[in-house]
């Protein structure tokens, strides 16, 4: 079902790198999505206008994609995993990214670009547990 898309994925990656660069060049910050979004759910976290605008851009970008390029999103008829699994996965992602201080963007893209030791450890860790989980879910759960 999934096709190898090196060109589109590379182009998408370049855009992600560009977006992270805008945040660094303009705001002087790390474009870590879990941290920027998480701060909106945390009392006392500053930079609210920045956080709202960035998250708003992501959401509006999603709305645009849904209209102009729906093929980049799973179709409504595609089989989706059971709700309990989606909820469990979301809880783990939310809890884990805040505990570990970052996700694929903050640690994976921005951190590795800065040769951060913490981000390297985090990225290797979440890739590893992500890979093991996907493997187990595929073999034994039939989740995917």
């Amino acid at each position: 079902m999934n096709h190898f898309t090196p060109v589109a994925s590379l182009l998408g990656g370049l855009l992600i790198g560009l977006a992270a660069t805008i945040v660094l060049a303009v705001h002087g910050k790390v474009a870590g999505i879990s941290g920027i979004f998480g701060g909106l759910l945390q009392r006392g976290a500053g930079d609210r206008p920045f956080r709202f605008a960035f998250v708003g851009g992501l959401v509006v970008g999603g709305a645009i994609l849904g209209i102009v390029a729906p093929s980049l999103l799973p179709s409504a008829s595609a089989s989706s995993p059971p709700i309990w699994l989606v909820v469990g996965a979301g809880l783990l992602v939310g809890f884990g990214t805040r505990m570990g201080g970052g996700c694929t963007s903050g640690h994976g893209v921005c951190g590795l670009s800065r040769f951060s030791r913490r981000s390297l450890v985090a990225t290797v860790t979440f890739m590893l547990t992500g890979g093991i989980t996907a493997f187990l879910a595929h073999r034994f759960g039939g989740a995917s």
């Binding site: 999934n2 994925s9 990656g13 370049l14 992600i16 790198g17 560009l18 805008i22 945040v23 060049a25 002087g28 910050k29 870590g32 999505i33 998480g38 759910l41 945390q42 009392r43 206008p49 709202f52 605008a53 960035f54 851009g57 992501l58 999603g62 709305a63 645009i64 994609l65 849904g66 999103l73 799973p74 989706s80 709700i83 989606v86 979301g90 992602v93 939310g94 809890f95 990214t97 505990m99 570990g100 201080g101 970052g102 694929t104 963007s105 893209v109 590795l112 670009s113 913490r118 450890v121 990225t123 860790t125 547990t129 992500g130 890979g131 996907a134 493997f135 879910a137 595929h138 995917s144």
Partner: protein, 160 residues
């Protein structure tokens, strides 16, 4: 420093990020899981995403750091910590499990929720709940650390 510029550039960055994630294939959970599970019918596309993003950002980072200060802020606010602690490793491990199960990391979850994808909306609500739970647990007394990441620094400020 203008608030208007700060906010419009943040919105632009979010928008470009969203288009990049979509084009890259990150908004298709089955594709993400197909990348993470290297033993199956492996789709290595997503390695190109990280490769492309890092190539651009690494170059830009080197250039920008040598130029003093960002456009609208008085200084760079970048993480300075280098110690490897349990929360870093355990948090990343927990995140990875959720990512491998659901196929969404936070960015694509927000983007797909913007496209009103039902599983993504459910995932996003659960993710927000998981974050709030972590924030509440992290407020139990523990020694504050200085020179932390932007995220944890704001958390430390909350505690102070």
């Amino acid at each position: 420093m203008s608030r208007g510029r700060e906010v419009s550039f943040a919105a632009l960055a979010g928008l470009v990020f969203a288009l990049g994630l979509g084009l890259a294939g990150m908004t298709q959970p089955s594709k993400v899981v197909g990348f993470l599970d290297v033993t199956g019918d492996w789709d290595p596309s997503l390695a190109f995403v990280m490769g492309g993003a890092i190539a651009v950002h690494l170059t830009a980072y080197r250039f920008l750091r040598s130029r003093g200060r960002p456009l609208v802020a008085s200084r760079f606010q970048l993480p300075t910590r280098s110690d490897i602690d349990l929360s870093l490793v355990l948090g990343a491990a927990i995140f990875g499990v959720g990512w491998g199960l659901g196929g969404y990391c936070p960015g694509p979850a927000l983007v797909s929720a913007g496209a009103l994808q039902k599983p993504a909306l459910i995932f996003l609500a659960a993710m927000a709940a998981g974050m709030v739970v972590q924030h509440l647990l992290a407020r139990t007394p523990q020694p504050a650390k200085n020179g932390d990441t932007l995220e944890s620094r704001t958390a430390a400020e909350t505690k102070a």
